[in-house]
Amino acid sequence: MLDKLKKVWQVLKRPSIHYSLGFLTLGGFVAGVIFWGGFNTALEATNQEAFCISCHEMENNVYQELQSTIHFSNRSGVRATCPDCHVPHEWTDKIARKMQASKEVWGKIFGTINTREKFEAKRRELAEHEWDRLKANDSLECRNCHNFDYMDFTRQSTRASNMHSTSLASGEKTCIDCHKGIAHQLPDMEGVEGF
């Protein structure tokens, strides 16, 4: 047994003695493809709504609230899923967000929001995290679909076109400054600007 292990270790230690350079290069390439593909497939798997709402915390609170909003059901049938708004599309940003999200695994294990009451108590804090994130990236996740350059003000209501052609156009405000609570219920907004 030990002999066998020793042999394996020797091969691993100096593989070029045992295998040709071509085999190692090709083998490394193939292994790399498999690893990279596997990694991204796993990453994509965690980027699906089914994965998000496999936690009852998400399914019973935020997912229920989403269902009555226009981002879930509407005239044209286009809908936003959890990651469309909560995970960046760009790979590097996505990895950064996924690393942040490891805190959520901690929260899941220790049941930080495992009852409705606990969730409600933390709602303001959680909402603020999302507002801060969207404020910092200029509402990137909104703009993935709602592109300002292609907005037709004449097809918007008077109020909407007034706001969009001034505050939003000048860059003074970003989507989340006005459109808070569009997909989930708002927390107690005491002291929040604009409420």
Binding site: L186, D188, M189
Partner: protein
Amino acid sequence: MKLMQLVSLAAVMSLSLGVNAESVPEDKISTLRQAPLNVESTPPRMQKVMNTDVKQTRNYPMQPPVIPHKIDGYQIDTKVNKCMSCHARNRTKESQAPMVSVTHYMDRQNNFLANLSPRRYFCTQCHVSQLDAKPQVENEFVDIDQLINSEAKH
């Protein structure tokens, strides 16, 4: 014989006048159920909410002003009142929306409160948006100033 003819003519005329005055048949005003109990009726098409942002005149004395825009998904509960993010006193400069009247800050004893009075907090108890629908019954309301003006002319 002549008299009989006259009477019947009058009867027919009054009947037809009576029918003309109503835009909806009597039996349909009394109930929203348009089909027998054991028949599933096809619901009427849902009307669009008017979203013109143009203020409407009132339709009866002391009517709370109607909402001239969509209010889909506006949250009004103990945590937040979405309407007030435009109509509150400190928000109207930015939003140019009509300011909530001062009476909404008064309690039953006419004391002024710093915030909306709890009895006036839930906007949609009185204020509603309007559907782009044909009125089932004609409104014959005449506002008081119109009444005074027409009196003065006579």
